[in-house]
Every structure is written in structure tokens, then in C-alpha cells.
């Protein structure tokens, strides 16, 4: 059902946890649907210096969370914002079709965290 890469990111997820002094936090999904993720980001000079996540959900939800943190770390905010759900799925060598919609929320969670950072910065 899942690719080897998905299983690797599920069994050995990268960047799990919280950032206590995060510059931006984004949560998407809903436990009612079975998927909920929170992304924490640290930003310096418009670059993502650190990212961590916490996810409640299926194998795909955990693997996409892990993958997006790897893809975005070190990138500028502009570059990170361009990461799409499809990019995340492609980097994992694909996801089963039903999971493309329900559990592939990691890019959205990252975007929500960036949005949170930018709105805090304005103030």
C-alpha cells in the first residue's frame, strides 16, 4: 500500500516534537477526520532554520509531516511557501489515492506556520 519511503518516514520520522520558542505555529486538520498536525518553525533572515511537527493520524499523515520538514529546512520562506501537497507526495514516491486528500496536509500545516510567523512579524 505504502512506498518504502513512506514507511521509512513513518517508522523513523524526522524532526518530531515541539519548538518551545517557535517563531510561528500552524495547526491543520481535525481529530474528527482522523488527522491533526501542528508545525513549529524557527526563522532567521527569512530562512527556516528549524522545523518540528506533532501529528495525530495514519501512516501517510506522519510520513508527509516528516517529509515536509526535511524539504523545507534551510529554505527561504518564499521557497518553502511554494512546496505543494503534490511535491510532498512525489518526494515520498507517491501516496495511495485516498490519502492524497485526507492525510496529505503537511504542506498546508507548514504554510499555516509561515502565515502565523508573518502575521506576528507585522505586529
Amino acid at each position: 500500500m505504502y512506498s518504502k519511503k513512506v514507511m521509512d518516514h513513518f517508522m523513523n520520522p524526522r524532526n518530531v516534537g515541539e519548538l518551545k520558542d517557535a517563531d510561528g505555529v500552524g495547526t491543520v486538520g481535525n481529530p474528527v477526520c482522523g488527522d491533526l498536525m501542528t508545525m513549529y518553525i524557527k526563522v532567521k533572515d527569512d530562512k527556516l532554520t528549524d522545523i518540528k511537527f506533532k501529528t495525530f493520524g495514519c501512516g501517510a499523515a506522519i510520513a508527509t509531516s516528516s517529509m515536509v520538514t526535511e524539504m523545507a529546512k534551510g529554505k527561504t520562506l518564499e521557497e518553502a511557501k511554494k512546496i505543494t501537497r503534490q511535491d510532498v507526495a512525489d518526494s515520498l514516491d507517491g501516496l495511495p489515492p485516498p490519502k492524497m486528500h485526507c492525510s496529505n496536509l503537511a504542506a498546508d500545516a507548514l504554510n499555516a506556520a509561515i502565515k502565523d510567523y508573518l502575521s506576528k512579524k507585522k505586529k
Binding site: 505504502y2 514507511m7 513513518f10 517508522m11 520520522p13 518530531v16 495547526t27 481529530p31 474528527v32 477526520c33 482522523g34 488527522d35 491533526l36 498536525m37 501542528t38 506533532k54 501529528t55 495525530f56 493520524g57 495514519c58 501512516g59 501517510a60 499523515a61 506522519i62 485516498p98 490519502k99 485526507c102 492525510s103
Partner: protein, 389 residues
């Protein structure tokens, strides 16, 4: 530990089936000796099955292509045959989809269906059943036991209510046949569905018991096999296999039931006492001997399945992620679990080849699996509170 999805074929069953694939290939409808040998084999199988459910006459059994067809034939067959007497069907909210969706399709044809709610353990309440009966009620269809939460319904009481009110009573016994004793005569059952692949028999064969009083209309028409109730050339090897499988299950039922009950309770007690915020779904005692359905707060079922699979333990879940519809189990929702708790359920089903060591592996590995997934979950509180639910 996923015998609910299908059980392996017992080698004793296979041995009995093999001659009927190539050597004894006769069509039971043929009058010559090859045909008659096949016919005799089918009748032996029919008697074995009748005997195992305490049916008085083996003529009351019809072979089908499996449990789903048996449920379709029973419900559609009895209601369309007797529709002049009424158009109301009573069933429960936790039936198998082959019952629920057959009822729903009949609703589109003018039948009315009451889906009885169940209590927190999954029991149908007799009082609510009685209150839902109308002059138009022609069928009560309620399962013997639920394959997902294991709850065994009070079939005898339901049967009495049906009999007193002169309503036909159909029982889906697919999850319970071969696991607990089923008695169609004592429980006033008019129609009873069973399947072969849940009892270590071959896939693609099932049976429907039809009491003589309960005449039904066929759903498959053709050459008139199975007394006209199920046309189509008989699947002889599989029918032979099903009969043998039922015979073995009956002979070993008591001993096997006791063995699995011990494992089941060891698993349930072990998990719920060592891992905080876990709970049993269904009733602790009135449940199938092979069924343990356990809920885990803060984590999702599919991630538990994948983690257990990695250590060689296969289980199932009521989570939406594991269903075709992307909805959590209708059974868990019906016993009152909110969505997030339904997502976090695991279904362990034990079987003939389960060993005590399998339980010990789960008990030793599961706490760390749960700990790892909870450490990743944003729902897990800093301090996990004591107690359940």
C-alpha cells in the same frame, strides 16, 4: 491476529475437497453415477451443516456464494415474497453492511426500515424492539454476534418476540458460526446466514438456513438448483469443504472456545492494565471468544496497525483510514464512541492457529509502540490522566 478478515483453509478441509476438483467432477444434476457422487457429497455437507446449527431437517439449507449472498437472499427473499403482509423491517444499527445495504435498497422500493440503536456494549434493547413493532412488520433481522466488537445478542429473547408477534426472524451468524453454539430451533430462528471462509473453509461458499414455514423468493433465477432457491451449477468442492469445516468447528468448539477465551482475556487485561487511557469496546463477558476490540486515546488506528505489522503482528481497526468509505466504523459510532475514539481502535481476532506466545509478543511490544505514537501526537496531554473513557 486478524482472523475477522478471513481464516486460512484447514488442511483437513483441503484434503476432503481435492477429489472434487478433478477426479469427481460430476454435475449433481446429472443422473449418471458421476453426477450422483457429486450429489451425495453435497447432501453429506448439507447434513453436517444442519447438524452443527441444530436444524431439524437438512433440506432447510441452501448453498450460496457466501455470507453476503446469504444475507441478501434472506432479507430480499422473505420480504418480497411476503410483501402483501407488510412492508416494515426491523434491524439494528450495528449489522454487517450486507444487511444494512440490502435494507437500504429495499427502502428505495417502498419498504420501511427501523434501525434499532444499541447500548454502550452493543446490545439491542428488547423493550425498544417491542416498541418498534407495527402491524406492518414482517421481518426482524439481527445478528447473532458482532464481528467487530464481539457482542453476542440475546437471540433467544429476540426470537421469542418475533414468534409472539408472528414476524419472521433472520439472524446473520457469519461472525459467530463455528465459534459459539448456534441453535436455530431453540432460538425461534426462521432464517440464518453462515459463511465458509470464517470457519477455516474455502472462500466463495456460504449457506442460508430457511425454516419450512418461511418461504422465500429467489434472487438468482436459472436451472432451478437448490430447490429453485439458488440456481446455478453447484460449487461442489467448496460445498464439500464448507461441510467439513463446520463439522470440525462443531467437534472442537468447546475446547477451542475455552482456549481462545483465555487468550482473549489475557490480551484485554494485559493491554488495559499496563497502558493508560485504553479501554475495551463491547461487553467483557458476553462476547465472541476470539474477539478483543481495544481503544487507545490520542492515537490513530492505522498507525498502530503499521507499527504492529512491522513486528509481525497483523490486526485491524475501525479507523476511517482503513475503510473504503473513509468513515470510521459504524459499529463503534453506534455504541457511542466519538469520531476521534473510533479512529483509535484496534481489533484483535484470534483463531485456530493463535498461540499464547502471540499474546505475549503483543503485550511486550505494544506499550512502546503506543508510547512512540503518543509522543508524536498533538492530542497527548503532558500528563496522561489515569482511568479510562
Amino acid at each position: 491476529m486478524d482472523y475477522a478478515a478471513g481464516s486460512p483453509l484447514d488442511k483437513r478441509v483441503l484434503k476432503e475437497m481435492i477429489p472434487y476438483f478433478a477426479e469427481q467432477f460430476g454435475n449433481p444434476s446429472s443422473p449418471h453415477s458421476f453426477g450422483q457422487m457429486a450429489k451425495n457429497a453435497i447432501e453429506v455437507s448439507r447434513s453436517r451443516i444442519a447438524d452443527s446449527i441444530n436444524a431439524k431437517d437438512s433440506d432447510d439449507l441452501v448453498f450460496t456464494s457466501g455470507g453476503t449472498e446469504s444475507n441478501n437472499l434472506a432479507i430480499r427473499g422473505i420480504t418480497t415474497r411476503h410483501k402483501e403482509k407488510g412492508n416494515h423491517i426491523i434491524t439494528s444499527a450495528i449489522e454487517h453492511m450486507s444487511v444494512i445495504n440490502t435494507c437500504k435498497s429495499l427502502m428505495r422500493q417502498g419498504f420501511e426500515v427501523t434501525f434499532l440503536p444499541v447500548d454502550n456494549h452493543g446490545f439491542v434493547k428488547i423493550e425498544e424492539l417491542e416498541n418498534s413493532i407495527t402491524k406492518k412488520t414482517i421481518l426482524i433481522t439481527i445478528m447473532y454476534a458482532n464481528g467487530e466488537i464481539g457482542t453476542i445478542q440475546p437471540a433467544e429473547e429476540i426470537g421469542k418476540v418475533a414468534q409472539e408477534n408472528e414476524i419472521f426472524f433472520h439472524v446473520d451468524a457469519i461472525a459467530s458460526a463455528g465459534k459459539i453454539q448456534i441453535d436455530v430451533s431453540e432460538n425461534f430462528i426462521d432464517l440464518l446466514s453462515i459463511s465458509s471462509n470464517d470457519i477455516y473453509g474455502p472462500k466463495g461458499v456460504g449457506a442460508l438456513y430457511i425454516n419450512k414455514e418461511a418461504r422465500i423468493q429467489p434472487i438468482i433465477y436459472g436451472g432451478g438448483q437448490e430447490k429453485g432457491l439458488r440456481s446455478g451449477s453447484e460449487n461442489v468442492p467448496s460445498i464439500v469443504g464448507m461441510g467439513k469445516a463446520m463439522e470440525i468447528a462443531k467437534a472442537e468448539l468447546k475446547e477451542e472456545g475455552a482456549r481462545l477465551t483465555k487468550f482473549r482475556d489475557k490480551l484485554i487485561d494485559g493491554v488495559t492494565s499496563t497502558i493508560k487511557r485504553t479501554y475495551l469496546n463491547g461487553h467483557p463477558k458476553k462476547r465472541l471468544p476470539n474477539n478483543a476490540n481495544i481503544g487507545f486515546d490520542y492515537i490513530e488506528g492505522e498507525s498502530l496497525i503499521l507499527s504492529l505489522d512491522a513486528i509481525g503482528v497483523q490486526v485491524s481497526s475501525g479507523s476511517a483510514c482503513t475503510s473504503k468509505t473513509l468513515e470510521p466504523s459504524h459499529v463503534l459510532r453506534a455504541i457511542g464512541l466519538p469520531h476521534e475514539k473510533a479512529h483509535g481502535s484496534l481489533l484483535f481476532t484470534l483463531g485456530r492457529f493463535s498461540k499464547e506466545n502471540d499474546i505475549e509478543i503483543v503485550l511486550s511490544k505494544l506499550p512502546n509502540i503506543v508510547k512512540r505514537l503518543r509522543s508524536m501526537s498533538p492530542l497527548t496531554p503532558k500528563e496522561i490522566p489515569e482511568g479510562v473513557k
